[in-house]
């Protein structure tokens, strides 16, 4: 589902964010991506999102070589990937419902379908009764769950998460991880970047470790 073939990324100022990274993630996998900050976790995720292009090597997502996706193809590509951000990245002048509905609105769905799927997603993350709330009135954990609902509402094949538990306490973090496992069980490929080794090593999934842009373990299942 996600395949990196000797991918390197060198920024203009000469810093190497990724060096010769090769990995393969299968359709039904949940994989953790770990390493110190600056090890290249975010760069790797950003390449999958096409926020970044590799300097060398190629990335193939769901059979699509991203090198062949032009600027006009980027929106369509992103619609097939759900992303959860560390800082939530919600629209703070819209309520919870509208935030979660955004990907469906962009993809162009019937409004009844939108209502149905948004409520299903909110139900899944346990925020159904808060659909009219504004994000600022929610706690950090709740905001993160709104972000997760938004990421999964479009039924993406791939779910990416960048430090989804970064600001949460251990109990909430475990809950969030459990949510990701549930999505993985219904067939979504999940890739989570996290430096919370204590938490992720308790969950029995593959862990890919990056160090200074190099992949040091977990390249294949």
């Amino acid at each position: 589902m996600i395949s990196f073939d000797r991918v390197s990324k060198r920024y203009a100022e000469g810093h190497d964010a990724l060096r010769e990274v090769s990995l393969d993630i299968a359709r039904d996998e949940l994989v953790f991506l770990t390493g110190h900050s600056g090890a290249g976790k975010s760069t790797l995720l950003r390449m999958i999102m096409l926020m970044e292009r590799p300097t060398r090597g190629q990335v193939v997502i769901d059979g699509q070589n991203l090198g062949a996706v032009g600027p006009r193809g980027i929106p369509r590509h992103r619609r097939n990937i759900g992303v959860v951000f560390q800082n939530h990245r919600l629209l703070y002048d819209r309520n919870v419902f509208d935030n979660v509905a955004l990907p469906l609105v962009i993809a162009g769905h019937d409004h009844r379908e939108v209502g149905r799927r948004v409520r299903a997603a909110l139900d899944k993350v346990g925020l159904l009764e808060r659909e009219r709330a504004m994000p600022v009135t929610l706690s950090g954990g709740e905001q993160q769950r709104v972000g997760i609902a938004r990421a999964v509402v479009g039924k993406p094949r791939i779910l990416l998460a960048d430090e989804p538990t970064g600001n949460l306490d251990p109990a909430l973090s475990a809950e969030i991880m459990q949510l990701f496992e549930e999505f993985n069980q219904v067939g979504v490929t999940v890739l989570i970047a996290s430096h919370d080794l204590g938490l992720i090593s308790r969950l029995r999934h593959r862990i890919i470790t990056l160090r200074q842009g190099r992949l040091v373990s977990g390249s294949a299942a």
Binding site: R76, R78, I106
Partner: protein, 332 residues
């Protein structure tokens, strides 16, 4: 559901559930596109109306900029209407040779009157002319000291009412060739001068309009740029979850459209108000000249045209801003 900018309605699409990612048909997409247009339009309108003071300022600036050239144009229309309403736009004065007798002059006048391309001719004898000159000029003493009358006989000819300028000029040349006629003078120069001045006026209006339209575009572009800046984070998020450039662009284009349409409306109101303000004095003036002249305004079509022009300028200004600034906002 309070979708403001967000929101989509589409036909009852058949969707594949489960692991397969969502698919939407062409018809669904069309409906969704239409719905997003509707919601973008409504949301942009809300945003414009949510800041009534700053929006009114923008409308007023655009309104003034559009009202100036269109007001000038209305003024020129009125002047040309006025000049067209004069019954005899031109007359030809035929000065006869000194030796021509009264009888021959009268015969000439009768002959000219019979011509199809002459609507009227009038004989002014040298005596009448002298008398008229004496009473009007105030040179009575000087004139009475003259031994003989220096003035020639005069036949004044008015060409047919619908005659073109070139036809009138040809007629003048033809009349000058008459053996009794010493000189034929076409009293049309002042009209030509007026025409030339009108032409100059129109050119001036176009130049002023061009400059002000450029100004309107820049004002709108800047207003939209500020709107884009204030929603930068939102644009980034929409792009991150797969919003296309067209999707992101749409609400800003509508914002420009609303500013432009409002500006056009203000311009039409300003022109109407100025005309209303002038109407009284113009009517007084016209009464003094025993004229039925009334100021002609923009009319419904003129007002509509202004609003449409405003809308188009709004779209164009927004497009300028959007194409320059939106592409630069990329998720980082």
């Amino acid at each position: 559901m309070s979708f403001r900018l967000l929101g989509v309605r589409a036909a009852q699409g058949v969707r594949r559930e489960g692991a397969s990612h969502s698919r939407t048909g062409l018809r669904d997409r069309y409906h969704a596109w239409l719905q997003h247009h509707r919601l973008s339009a409504a949301d942009s309108m809300h945003r414009v109306l949510d800041n009534p003071v700053s929006s009114a300022m923008t409308w007023l600036v655009i309104g003034i900029a559009l009202a100036l050239p269109s007001g000038l144009n209305v003024a020129l229309d009125n002047v040309s209407q006025l000049s067209a309403s004069w019954d005899s736009p031109a007359q030809i004065s035929l000065f006869l040779h000194d030796e021509v007798s009264d009888e021959r002059a009268l015969a000439l006048q009768a002959e000219l009157s019979a011509r199809a391309d002459v609507s009227l001719s009038r004989f002014v004898s040298r005596e009448e002319a002298l008398e008229e000159f004496r009473s009007l000029s105030g040179f009575a003493d000087v004139l009475s000291s003259l031994q003989d009358n220096p003035l020639p006989h005069l036949v004044v000819v008015a060409p047919a009412a619908d005659a073109q300028q070139a036809v009138v000029a040809a007629l003048r040349a033809e009349l000058e060739a008459y053996p009794d006629v010493a000189q034929a003078v076409l009293d049309m120069e002042w009209l030509q001068r007026l025409d030339t001045m009108m032409l100059l006026g129109r050119r001036l209006v176009w130049a002023v309009a061009g400059l002000l339209i450029l100004g309107v575009l820049l004002i709108l572009g800047n207003t939209i740029r500020l709107a884009i800046e204030s929603r930068r984070e939102e644009i980034v998020i929409v792009k991150l979850v797969g919003g296309s450039n067209a999707f992101v662009r749409r609400p800003f284009l509508y914002t420009g459209l609303w500013y432009g349409v409002g500006g056009g409306l203000f311009a039409a109101l300003l022109v109407a108000a100025s005309l209303w303000f002038l109407q009284g004095s113009v009517a007084d003036l016209a009464r003094l000249y025993h004229s039925e002249f009334r100021l002609r305004g923009l009319g419904v079509m003129g007002g509509l045209n202004l609003i449409i022009l405003g809308g188009l300028l709004g779209l164009a200004g927004a497009w300028l801003a959007v194409s320059r600034h939106l592409a630069a906002i990329q998720p980082r």
